[in-house]
């Protein structure tokens, strides 16, 4: 197996994700770690809540990782996304990609996170001191 996709309701293990994509024929690993930021447009964020339509989210992530293997010579790809309540500094997403050469790993990692944000049915609610907002819901 060269791909691991998981949606988890427990803290993500960044070191474990990197270990999973390691391979003797890899020349490098590229890792994207998303973190919960403490403010949006200057307004302090108390916490985030993530929700997923899990079977469809897994299916969409499988499409993205398959496209990455078709586009670049990759060795292993891992995507872990967390759901539930996350505090500032916690990690909602980890993407790790190994390849023989770094260009493929960098390009694929960026493609996966950018496409995930556009197509995968996962939603984020920002909770402020005075209210809450589903991100991107309204124009």
């Amino acid at each position: 197996m060269n791909t691991e996709i998981k949606i988890l309701d427990t803290p993500l293990d960044v070191a474990g994700c990197i270990d999973w994509v390691m391979s003797p024929d890899a020349g490098g690993i590229d890792v994207f770690v998303g973190t919960v930021r403490n403010a949006t447009k200057g307004k302090p964020v108390v916490r985030l809540e993530f929700e997923a339509y899990e079977p469809m989210a897994i299916k969409e992530l499988e499409k993205i990782t398959q496209q990455s293997f078709a586009k670049w010579p990759l060795i292993r790809v891992l995507v872990h996304h967390r759901i539930g309540i996350l505090s500032v500094g916690e990690v909602p997403v980890v993407i790790a990609v190994s390849a023989a050469h770094r260009d493929a790993a960098f390009d694929a990692c960026r493609y996966i996170i950018d496409t995930l944000k556009q197509t995968v049915p996962i939603w984020k609610k920002e909770i402020f001191e005075d209210g809450e907002v589903w991100v991107a819901a309204h124009p």
Partner: protein, 80 residues
């Protein structure tokens, strides 16, 4: 036929429930579902956009719905 519609994110808040039931004619399309939902829940029209998924795939407006399909409202996604 009666179809359950799953809702996520802000759609769940608009429906006040993670699942609602909608009565459809046979051969109803995704467009028909959107029309009926917007009649019942006008706040859907205020969203930036929203999609309908059928059996875990994004559906096209002309796709028809069958009795045992899993149908979901997908408001703008914001993962990552």
């Amino acid at each position: 036929m009666n179809i359950n519609i799953l809702a996520f994110g802000i759609a769940k808040d608009i429906f006040g429930s993670p699942v609602i039931e909608l009565e459809l004619t046979n051969n109803a399309t995704v467009s028909n579902i959107k029309y009926l939902l917007e009649q019942r829940y006008p706040r859907l029209k205020q969203l930036s956009s929203y999609m309908i998924a059928v059996n875990n795939e994004y559906a096209l407006p002309e796709d028809t719905i069958h009795h045992h399909d899993e149908v979901a409202v997908i408001p703008p996604v914001s993962g990552g």
